[in-house]
């Protein structure tokens, strides 16, 4: 057996890609994100190269300076949204999953053979509104209110808004405000460039301007025009959502609209308060310890067990785990355990789980690397 130290991000389930040794976290498909980067930097490069020299001289040097600052802010917000953990909820460790399953069984009582067990739902009352918490079969947890499972990234995300291909990541609790500031600042940048393009076209009267720069000017105007309608519209939509303290996910599902559904229990019923909570609220920490160290024992000839995720389709009683399920749960426990010990395979089949997991004191004392 070879024991080597790995970072926890290498063993995380889900379909994220990680860079910079776990510091950066993104979705798998990044093509559209590169397109976003290209469009923004390309258009701004053209603006700085061809418009700014003229504008700085004829109008004011403050114009390109402000454009640079705005561009840097846009890029910072974009990268922050794309690279950060949106609020991924880690999957339940085997003991927790078993505990929850037993609670469900206890709640359901005896289901006659052949009958489908009732759906796994927990009701919670929040601000005089009954909210249903659904059970996630992939993550083996009851999703907290406002959390949702992203099928693209295969993670449950807290306060899930939507999965944005343009930023190459999910938008959730931790990065929603950066996403919003990104769309807002990008709108401002687009309007800014668009305005000064028009100004430039109007002001320039040299008959011997090289044709190439005219074409580039037109290109900029076109890009800005189309970006304007989409990004400004998106900013407006999210401003509306923030003022109501709703997520895109809830809006699409119509969770709080219509008489039958009830009222949004998370809203403070005050636009200012809602905006303040979403934009100026606390900065939530990541609960995914990506850069923590994990000891991995690998048998010498064969390769590591690939961390699998089990999608249980029907509710399972712990004793009825198929042999296929037992193996992934070993891998899952190896990847999730903050202790250097391995689970015994048989232990996962016996409730209550009597696994010789080392005490959590070492993990409390251990510094969270995030």
């Amino acid at each position: 057996m070879i024991t080597r130290k790995v970072r926890k991000w290498e063993k995380l389930p889900g379909k994220n890609t990680f860079c910079c040794d776990g510091r950066v976290m993104m979705a798998r498909q990044k093509g559209v994100f590169y397109l976003t980067l290209f469009l923004i930097t390309g258009t701004c490069a053209l603006f700085f190269a061809f418009e700014c020299p003229y504008l700085a001289v004829s109008l004011s040097p403050a114009i390109p300076v402000f454009a640079v600052l705005l561009f840097l802010f846009v890029m910072a917000m974009l990268l922050r949204t794309s690279f950060s953990d949106p609020g991924v909820l880690p999957r339940a460790l085997p003991e927790e999953a078993t505990f929850i399953e037993m609670e469900i069984e206890a709640a359901n009582g005896n289901v006659p053979a052949g009958q489908r067990p009732p759906p796994r739902i927990r009701n919670v009352q929040i601000n005089n509104q009954i909210v249903k918490l659904k059970y996630c079969y992939t993550c083996k947890i009851f999703r907290p209110p406002r959390a949702s499972h992203c099928s693209i990234c295969d993670n449950c995300v807290d306060r899930f808004d939507h999965h944005c291909p343009w930023v190459g990541n999910c938008v959730g609790k931790r990065n929603y405000r950066y996403f919003y500031l990104f769309t807002l600042s990008l709108s401002l940048l687009t309007i800014y460039i668009f305005t000064f393009d028009i100004v430039h076209v109007v002001m320039r009267e040299y008959p011997d301007t090289p044709l190439a720069s005219h074409r580039l000017n037109v290109l900029e105007v076109l890009v800005c025009f189309f970006t304007l309608w989409s990004v400004v519209g998106l900013t407006g939509f999210h401003t509306y959502l923030i003022s109501l303290n709703q997520t895109t996910n809830e809006d699409i599902k119509g969770s709080w609209s219509g008489k039958n559904r009830g009222q949004n229990p998370y809203s403070h019923k005050n636009i200012i308060k809602n905006c303040c909570e979403v934009l100026c609220g606390p900065t939530y920490p990541s609960v995914l310890d990506r850069r923590g160290l994990l000891q991995e024992d690998t048998p010498i000839p064969s390769s590591n067990p690939v961390p699998q995720t089990t999608k249980t389709t029907a509710p399972l009683i712990p004793n009825e785990h198929t042999p296929d399920d037992a193996k992934p749960s070993i891998a899952a426990s190896a990847e999730k355990s903050s202790s250097p010990k391995e689970e015994h395979p048989a232990a996962t089949k016996v409730p209550p789980l009597a696994s010789p997991e080392t005490d959590a004191e070492t993990s409390i004392a251990k510094e969270r690397a995030h």
């Binding site: 929040i126 995914l288 789980l353 009597a354």
Partner: protein, 157 residues
């Protein structure tokens, strides 16, 4: 009963009997709060008031971290003005409170829970979803510190 496949584990820890999970209390919304309901599995192991006190203190820490008020606005606006670069050098208020929580849990484990054969796991290690309490074999009047708390513990049995 626990099965050991590693002698190292036998040396390091007493046998783990079960784990009890205290769930989140969502009745006040999405703020981090744990249920103060006493789990029946711990009936003989610890006094209700002690566990309740621990959970209530933790809840107050989380409430402090997530409080939306003057300080959080200031932190948010300042950070926004610097395009959030300031977070590379500055610790957020939430992180400060998390460190306090971590040391509180360690202190509670040393003083109250370990002598009773229990161990609290910091909720951050479990995605802030549950407060995990590991229950070890009850060694009677054993334990690392023969303190006066043991006698009050045994009277509850």
């Amino acid at each position: 009963q626990a099965e050991f496949h590693n002698l190292q584990e036998l040396r390091h820890s007493p046998s783990l009997v079960t784990k009890v999970f205290i769930q989140r209390d969502y009745s006040e919304g999405t703020v981090c709060r744990f249920q103060t309901k006493f789990p029946s599995e711990l009936d003989n192991r610890i006094e209700r008031t002690l566990l309740e006190e621990t959970v209530k203190t933790l809840n107050s820490y989380y409430a402090e971290a997530e409080k939306i008020g003057g300080q959080s606005y200031l932190e948010g606006c300042l950070a926004c003005a610097t395009a959030y670069i300031i977070f590379l050098c500055m610790e957020t208020r939430y992180e400060k409170v998390l460190r306090k929580i971590s040391s509180y849990i360690q202190e509670q484990n040393e003083k109250i829970y370990a002598p009773r054969g229990l161990l609290l796991t910091d909720p951050i290690e479990r995605g802030m979803r549950v407060l995990e309490i590991s229950v070890f074999e009850d060694r009677g009047s054993g334990g690392s510190s023969p303190s006066s708390t043991m006698s009050s513990g045994s009277s509850a049995r």
